[in-house]
């Protein structure tokens, strides 16, 4: 990638971070935080976006960011105060800014109407007079902002020869400078010439500007003749190290325009007397001749005419200026003693006019040497060879760490996965070893057994630590939600405050990636269905603004995500009515409130006419439930009429390890994911019926579900197991379908490391993956979904509830 593109990529990456920071700052402000550092941080974020956008000529983005920034600047300077209303406008502006960034990134366009509306809202925060002052009045978007701003896209030409590098010119300058030495400025050629009178003030040197460099730049514009005027230099005992005594007259020949010349003096213009005129014009000699005798004065005594006194060789001049005076060269008798060498304004001798050039050079060299010895740290004048690149990288990394509070490293995900795999093997190997040692008859108290116990603890610890590497805070998902909430709320015309808790709760990266959709659905649902309209809330005596709480917490080795609203709660009669109408429950079914609430997760419950207003997505809660189950998770709802509802979903912390129920079927050891299991029971012969002479169903309480003989379904044996001699495990598939798995025995619950079967063998229907047990045997992990679906296909409608 060319460097420009790569920086552009960096810019957009940085924008993401800035937008995130900005949003959390704005949310804090919305919550009433009017700390100046918070406001500053938001301002800086917008400012940085604008700055980068300027570099890439992203005009639309610049324009919007500028207005946004201006409003924030008003807040910084206390001209605009934080109110709830202001915070809300700013939050929406941050959304629009994010849209602009996205558009700039993809080369797409933004919603012009929305932008203009937003601009108007931002302008509305500032009173009109002030807006006019800031150039934000009128439509505020076009000329005003552009003029005020003057941003031009940068043209980064990398072909530009680096030959302009600093050192080159010095030599050229030297060459040019030797010729005219000794002669006062004179119009000797026909070429147009500029006559520049340059009289620095002490302030100029205090800002680290140097005459020598300015003159060198000037020399780049054409041929120069330089004459230094030392007339103002006082006798040695009156010399002040802080003062500026010298002035210069330069004749410049060449094609340079006045603005070229002025540009050279851009940085020093306000700290010097500067006259630029065409050579031969009257001002040249006489216009500016303030003769002040007091050497301590700001305008050092000098006169251009006095230039004739001592023409100096430019080379000597340069050498001296660069070297800066040493303590000896600028003796302190008159002025206060200076502990450090001063910038280059003091003249070396009381009477330089009589000094020859060679002497001056020698003096300058001496001064330079002394200066280096006296003050300059070696690192400054003498950059070390260059193992620096590494040091720099380290330093930058350390710095990044410091700002983020904890040092981090970036590691390729593949490497982490390899490590996790290896640790998985280690866990298995360790379990096998323990079992073998135990089987070999060694006493529990033997050294070997005790050592193994320690090994086991250590292995667990390693496993936990390795899993923690992949763990990340849910923040990355949570932080996208405020915007979603604002948008959905706007869309349905409700007022919503989102409260988030536990953003730092950690969970495996793969789980995080898949949390986004379910959370999005639950939030949409909460705002759209859960919360009442402002009018309804007012009538019900509630705060007009509804609250939705999104929280994450760890509970029992799982992560729990809760979405709670303070809305109307589930309308149970309506839900029940819908369920009956859709044939999901019998008309006379006796259901607890809890059971009714959970009907909304049934497939087929949420159909278009029910969810049409869920932001037009038409996605029901059954879809949410399915995607959560796919992650080995569970979801449930609790609700209280007119108080609100709470959705809780719990997920495993990782997808690399599975909580399983180890069962045996046809002498094989199998694992059923615990998240699918509802209950287990010993079937009674009278509860099992054959449908169509072959497919068994089992009656569990008042429901019939398919009874799947796992040994036969997986082809381990041909003869069915007599139901009464086995155990039935009632499972629920992701799709919500239920079935009972008939196995011979349940061995127990265990955490197993998931091994892909496809990666090592091939896909087998009904088997999701494999694992290795403590005794070294491979156990297949059942694909409950596939088993249930197959049985249901074979025996349609079998689950249908029978009239009691």
């Amino acid at each position: 990638m060319d460097p420009f593109e790569s920086i552009k990529a960096t810019f957009f990456q940085e924008c993401d971070e800035l937008l995130t920071d900005m949003e959390s700052g704005l949310l804090a402000m919305e919550a009433g935080d009017d700390d100046s550092e918070t406001i500053n941080a938001v301002f800086r974020a917008v400012h940085s976006v604008k700055g980068g956008a300027g570099a890439f000529g992203l005009d639309e983005l610049i324009r919007f960011a500028h207005i946004f920034e201006t409003v924030l600047d008003e807040m910084r300077s206390d001209r605009l105060h934080l109110t709830d209303e202001v915070a809300k406008v700013l939050l929406r502006a941050s959304d629009v800014l994010a849209d602009h960034v996205a558009a700039a990134r993809s080369g797409g366009s933004v919603d012009e109407g929305r932008t203009l509306g937003m601009i108007a809202d931002l302008q509305g925060l500032i009173d009109q007079e002030r807006a006019a002052e800031l150039g934000l009045d009128g439509d505020g978007s076009d000329d005003g902002a552009d003029e005020d701003f003057g941003f031009v896209p940068i043209v980064l030409s990398l072909d530009e020869p680096a030959a302009d590098a600093p050192e080159v010119d010095v030599a050229a300058l030297m060459a040019a400078a030797t010729a005219p030495a000794g002669a006062p400025p004179q119009a000797t050629t026909a070429a147009p010439a500029w006559l520049v009178t340059f009289r620095p003030k002490a302030e100029m040197y205090a800002k680290a500007n140097e005459t020598g460099l300015v003159l060198r730049e000037l020399a780049r514009l054409g041929d120069v003749e330089v004459v230094v005027d030392t007339a103002a230099v006082p006798p040695l005992d009156q010399l002040s190290a802080e003062q500026a005594y010298l002035s210069w007259t330069i004749r410049l020949r060449g094609e340079a325009t006045e603005s070229d010349v002025r540009e050279v003096f851009e940085f020093v213009e306000d700290d010097c007397e500067l006259i630029i005129c065409r050579d031969g014009e009257p001002e040249a000699a006489s216009a500016e001749t303030p003769t002040v005798d007091d050497p301590e004065s700001d305008a050092p005594a000098s006169a251009v005419e006095a230039a004739a006194a001592a023409p100096l060789d430019l080379e000597a001049l340069l050498a001296r200026v660069q070297g800066e005076p040493a303590p000896e060269a600028a003796p302190p008798p008159a002025a206060m003693p200076q502990p450090v060498p001063e910038p280059a304004q003091a003249a070396p001798k009381a009477d330089p006019a009589n000094m020859d050039v060679a002497g001056l050079i020698a003096l300058a060299e001496q001064a330079s040497l002394d200066h280096v010895q006296a003050a300059a740290p070696p690192a400054k004048t003498e950059p070390k060879p260059d193992p620096k690149a590494d040091a720099r990288a380290e330093r930058t990394a350390a710095a990044a760490g410091a700002t983020a509070a904890t040092p981090t490293i970036r590691v390729d995900l593949d490497r982490v996965d390899r490590l996790i795999n290896a640790v998985g093997e280690l866990v298995i190997q360790q379990a096998m070893l323990s079992q073998r040692v135990f089987e070999s008859g060694l006493a529990r108290s033997s050294d070997v057994a005790l050592g193994l116990e320690d090994l086991e603890l250590l292995t667990r610890e390693i496993q936990d630590s390795v899993m923690a590497i992949r763990a990340q805070p849910v923040k990355s998902v949570f932080q996208r939600m405020p915007r979603l909430v604002r948008e959905v709320a706007d869309m349905v015309g409700k007022k919503v405050r989102l409260v988030m808790d536990g953003e730092n709760t950690e969970v495996d990266k793969t789980v995080i990636e898949r949390l986004s959709d379910p959370i999005t659905h639950m939030l949409r649902n909460a705002i759209d269905h859960g919360l009442e309209t402002p009018e309804e809330r007012e009538a019900g005596g509630k705060a007009i603004e509804g609250t939705v709480r999104l929280a994450a917490l760890h509970r029992g080795g799982r992560i729990v995500i809760e979405v709670q609203d303070d809305g109307r709660g589930i309308n149970r009669p309506r839900v029940r009515g819908i369920a009956v109408a859709k044939g999901l429950i019998a008309e006379d079914a006796v259901l607890s409130d809890d059971e009714i609430d959970n009907l909304i997760f049934l497939p087929g419950f949420s159909t278009a006419d029910v969810v049409s207003d869920i932001s037009g997505r038409g996605v029901g809660m059954d879809v949410v439930k399915r995607s959560i189950q796919a992650l080995g998770g569970r979801i449930s709802i609790t609700s209280e009429p007119s108080k609100g509802s709470k959705f809780s979903m719990s997920l495993p912390l990782t997808l690399a390890v599975l909580d399983g129920m180890v069962v045996s079927a046809a002498e094989q050891t199998l694992v059923a994911p615990l998240s699918n299991i509802v209950e287990s029971l010993t079937p009674r012969a009278e509860d099992v019926h054959l449908v169509g002479g072959r497919d068994a169903v089992i009656r569990i309480r008042d429901t019939f579900v398919p009874l799947i003989d796992v040994g036969m379904a997986l082809g381990f044996r041909d003869e069915p197991l007599p139901p009464a001699s086995g155990v039935a495990v009632l499972v629920e598939s992701e799709g919500g379908g239920k079935a009972a798995l008939l196995v011979e025995a349940i061995q127990g619950q265990r955490q197993v490391v998931i091994k892909s079967l496809e990666a090592n063998y091939q896909h087998i229907h009904g088997v999701a993956a494999a694992t290795i047990l403590g005794d070294g045997r491979v156990a297949l992990i059942l694909d409950v979904d596939a088993l249930v679906t197959t049985s249901r296909r074979k025996a349609p409608r079998i689950e249908k509830r029978m009239a009691v």
């Binding site: 301002f43 700055g51 300015v214």
Partner: protein
Amino acid sequence: MNKTVLTIDDSRTMREMLNMALVQAGYRVIQAVDGVEGLEVLRAEGADVVITDINMPRMDGFGVIEGVRADPAHRATPILVLTTESDATKKERARAAGATGWIVKPFNPTKLVDAIRRVAA
């Protein structure tokens, strides 16, 4: 002998921009992400020129200028501030604090190198 330029800016984009242009022009570049770190790095590694942004967390560009000027070893180190066209007041404040010159954002590499040459040998 390459000159060392210390760039202080909280924006990674801007730091990379400066880095690219300066390295291209033959300078050695060291970076810092805010004023506090900038002064630390300057003390530790030294630099021939300091380029600093104004708006930064922890310590802004004015703080950098004051800190550099207060350090006897760097009283005479040139400081260029990054500013925008509309920031005339900030430019003045920076000058008053002792800034040597300024670079108007967005800059192009030639202008950037010109500005450095005007303040550093």
